[in-house]
Amino acid sequence: MEKAFRNDAYAKVTGQAIYTDDLKLHDMLYAVPVYSEMPRAKLISLDGSAALKQSGVVAIITAKDIPGNIRYGQIIKDYPVLVDEDINSTGDVLALIVAQTREQAITAVPFIKIELQPLKPILDPEEAMKPDAEILHPFHCSNLTNYHRVRRGDVATAEKEADLIIEEEFSTSRVEHSYLEPESAICHLRSDGVMEVFGSMQHPFSTRRFVASTLGVELKDVEVKPLTCGGGFGGKDDTAALVCARAALCAWILKKPVKITYSREWSMRESYKRHPYKMQYRMGLNKEGQILSVKARIVADGGAYCSVTPWVTWRSTVQSCGCYEVSNVETDVYGVYTNNVFCGAMRGFGSPQINFAIEQLVEIAAEKLGMDEITFRRKNIVKQGSTTITGQVLDNHIVSLTQVLDAVLKESDYENKRKLCSLGNLNQKEWYGIGLAISYRGVSLGAEGTDVNSAILYVQPDGSVLLETSVFENGQGAESAMILIASEQLGLPLERIRYRMPSTSNIPDGGSTVASRGTIMGGGAVINASIILKQIITETIQKITGKSVAYFKDSKLLDSSDNLIMSWDEAIKLCYDNQVYPYAFGVFQPPQISWNEETGQGNAYFTWVYGCQAVELKVDSQTGAVELLNMIAAHDIGKVINPYALKGQYYGGMAMGAGYALFENCPCENGLVVPTNFHNYHPPRSINLPEMKAIFIENPDPISPSGAKGIGEPANEIMAPAIANAIYHATGKRYHSLPIRIKI
């Protein structure tokens, strides 16, 4: 059989892989956080003297000890590394206790005396949006972190012409990423004066900015080295960076290495979540089944701090009508401050919420019009050359919605099985249902950020290669994908290429490894570096031997008639002998996008991906228990780089989507996240999930040098509506909120 490739598999399967908490430095101290018990308050006083007397306790660190900025944030600098005065969340950290062991630090927590002056919290985003609501962050002058809109055509006129108008409301739950490895950081001040940071994170450069800001030093004075990351899913950005910043602060003050490893309870309490949304949709249709208009009002509870709420909700805005062509659109999307736990990036990034609404809405509309849901979708989906709701013409890549839809219909035998659905038949003990959902998704960051990435290929004198890119391993296999691409480009076996241990001091910032952009951006940079490297080698050989290299294959350099010129190793030796470095720095920069914030029009993303997922399930008509029978996904991923890792993204994404649909919920009570650990928060277990199938659709993208696009998030954004649709087909009831709890 063909085997999977991962450069870290051996270390991970033997327990040798070093995650941050596995590392110990000499003379290391341990810090733990002290949380606010109130969601909104003023910190009047904090007395650490009794805690300081506890065994092993070395220091109590508070905001007063911060040499740099107390607050930081990726968009709005609103997050206090440690609270100086204003408390906005029960995840706020008031102090750090540093001790010789972690247990000693934890034991000292109850000895901290804290005086708070309670303020009335705002826990409902609708309350926060009222004109007379108190402003939670006075320097920001508004309880909105952002407001985005789309204005296209004329909804009022379209509604007058419509034969049918449907209005529906949907809401989604707050979701915890549930990376199995809780946050962890180790920081120490190196002898050259650099603050060295080891940690578990998705974006070392963002961590570096947080740490430098907190310490009040320059970026060159902080070096972040991410260690093996035990899962991220978008969740190891801000919170992971904050944990690093706090460990760095302690190490800075105490001049000793300091480790902070979070317990699951702290992680659940403090770390940001996927935004809960409330979505009101009104859709106008004609009786031929064409969507004429969509009007939507979407409110995202961003919680106490901004994080990347404006970017998350921007994607929701651009994709607010799902993958359908609609000529008349009015979408208003609000990101709102409250005193709940804050929300930020999570796999999907604003699309799982939207798809949950829109993919049910189209089925509701189809049924009202007496059409089947597939015909209705076919009529309205974007096709080659279609214009999106933001005015982008989809003509620079293959629009493959029909292809992914057909693949899933065929594989699942949908049309036949759909006839077997129970629709709540009272004579059946068990209800059967099949359902599906489709989507398109803008690739990479779009107007959310600057999109550029780089790679370094550095061939050593013995012909072996060191590779480095500015995408980071979160566990998804990013490094392995980069090695595979380099190996193909250079015609070298995988074992001759080693991925360098990443560091923020080695390579320029390439943005966060989020938005399913790792393969397209990093892979693009690797290919561009390979082209430069091959050019350096080719020119050197031309100059010295007069021969023209046409191909790099099987560790050999060949001319255009496939004749051997020399081996790779000989070519590299020749370079070094002639004082030429076989070293290349490659950059990949996708085409610029455009966006008009006023009208919500523009070319939002440089390319798009298309996907379809289906599920079969059974519902017990007595208890309402749902049993998933199987799940299928087809995605156009552009080009397959690493088939096993790709499948892993499909399966993991579908599983997380199933969790979103049926099991996962993080309600807040008086601002405090209710679930505390995996006994009361339930990511799916093996017995909750069915067998899954992954179908690869390949339409290489012209903009992507490797042809590949992305899969991490597309795989995670449509299983919840597929399940909701299947549940409707089984029970005859629509469920408008997540997670779905079936009422009998």
Binding site: A9, V13, T14, L180, G230, G652, S686, L689
Partner: protein, 152 residues
């Protein structure tokens, strides 16, 4: 006395938590801590061949026991156990945080039941959370290991 991966230990604090003892005192950091309350399976070790959660045990609970951790199942020359090799070959590893616990749980299952069905594998690993893989390739890996072990 407690035996860990073939080495005998005599001097320890009976009240010490097994997971911490392994990680902190013996530097066997392959045993992971995901929840610390006995619900995620990351800290699974084999105690007299049975998969057990080391975050729920104290050393007094494992006196005179034979413990195997993830570091203890490959051959001394580094050759992987067939279960480990199958996890690699079937693509069952992503972030790897659940992997040690999964491998040990699967190892114990195959010792008892060398020819499990996919459903039996599903049941056996229900205590081991994995957020990355959806379990599909982990089950593939255990089936592959069962195949390879029985054809040897």
């Amino acid at each position: 006395m407690i035996t860990v991966n073939g080495f005998n230990y005599y001097d320890y604090d009976l009240e010490r938590k097994l997971s911490l003892w392994l990680r902190e005192d013996l530097s066997l950091t392959g045993t992971k801590i995901g929840c610390d309350i006995g619900v995620c399976g990351s800290c699974t070790v084999l105690i007299d061949g049975e998969p057990k959660l080391s975050c729920r045990l104290k050393l007094k609970d494992v006196e005179n026991c034979n413990i195997i951790t993830i570091e203890g199942i490959a051959l001394p020359d580094g050759t992987l156990h067939p279960v480990q090799q199958a996890f690699i070959d079937a693509g069952a590893i992503q972030c790897g945080f659940c992997t040690p616990g999964m491998v040990l749980t699967a190892y114990a299952l195959l010792n008892k039941n060398p020819h499990p069905t996919r459903q039996e594998v599903r049941l056996a690993i229900r205590g081991n959370l994995c957020r990355c893989t959806g379990y599909q390739q982990i089950i593939d890996a255990v089936m592959l290991a069962a195949d390879r072990l029985s054809s040897n």
